[in-house]
């Protein structure tokens, strides 16, 4: 059930992000610096020698600053803070880089998330998504993000944990 659901979520996201790319409309360059607030929900998973389990993920709130680093391909770096709620509370930081192929709306990101309090958890993340401009300096964003936690005091012995979430956000062009 869960793998089929994940596939459906992925397909939905690809439909959302692939639409504008197929239209081949001339797009403005992405902003040099943008501020972004996101809320994410999805499923968490844990795995190890005893098999894997799934459950609802916590609600994840993220605030990011994204700044362009390279023009071609359009690449930006982002840093931010992340907080988890809904059944659990924790806070940490997130950082990484995003690539926008052909400067389009599709963006692919890689990075790391580190939860620091009240217990530690850290691991790599990857996401794919895009932003739909609403006004000249404001857009709605949708991303599918996966995080794999491989170390930290919050991990059960000899197991890893992770989560796959759909993140809805708003982005403001700062410059």
């Amino acid at each position: 059930m869960a793998p089929r659901s994940t596939a459906l979520a992925l397909t939905s996201l690809l439909l959302v992000t692939a639409g504008p790319a197929r239209a081949e409309e001339p797009l403005d360059d992405p902003p040099l610096t943008s501020l972004e607030a996101r809320a994410g929900l999805g499923m968490a998973f844990g795995g190890g020698a005893g098999g894997s389990v799934q459950r609802r993920s916590p609600l994840t709130l993220t605030a990011l600053v994204d700044h362009a680093l390279v023009v071609d391909p359009w690449t930006s770096g982002f840093v931010g803070v992340v907080a988890e709620g809904y059944g659990r509370g924790s806070a940490g930081v997130i950082a990484g880089a995003r690539v926008r192929p052909a400067r389009g709306r599709l963006r692919i990101a890689g990075g790391a998330e580190v939860l620091l309090v009240p217990s530690t958890l850290a691991g790599p993340l990857a996401s794919v998504g895009g932003c739909l401009p609403i006004t000249a300096s404001f857009g709605l964003c949708l991303d599918l993000e996966a995080v794999l936690f491989v170390t930290g005091s919050d991990l059960p012995d000899e197991r890893i944990a992770g989560q796959a979430q759909i993140l809805l956000g708003v982005a403001f062009d700062a410059w």
């Binding site: 979520a9 939905s12 959302v16 844990g46 799934q54 459950r55 659990r88 949708l142 059960p156």
Partner: protein, 94 residues
């Protein structure tokens, strides 16, 4: 937005498929419990030892204190007190 509706539907389906009572992290368990390899919340193996730190008394679960050891410790103390009293009253005996 059609895309957002599709994403929300996908999310709802995904959530419905993984609402099992399991844990993936220690912090999903109540205080004092840990998430085991079987993905279940259970008391930490050394929780009782850690829980009575400094009290020198009965662990929180009240089960582990050995009565025989308690008696031995008590009789040892009594013997020491008796020896000290004897020394005070009759120093030559030492």
């Amino acid at each position: 937005m059609r895309g957002s509706a599709a994403a929300a539907l996908a999310l709802a389906i995904a959530l419905a498929g993984c609402a099992r009572d399991v844990c993936t992290r220690n912090s999903e368990c109540s205080s004092g419990d840990i998430c085991t390899r079987a993905a279940q919340c259970e008391p930490a193996p050394d929780a009782s030892a850690a829980g009575d730190g400094g009290s020198g008394g009965v662990p929180p679960d009240g089960a582990a204190l050995d009565a025989a050891a308690q008696v031995d410790a008590g009789s040892g103390l009594d013997a020491g007190i008796d020896a000290a009293a004897q020394l005070e009253s009759d120093p030559d005996s030492a």
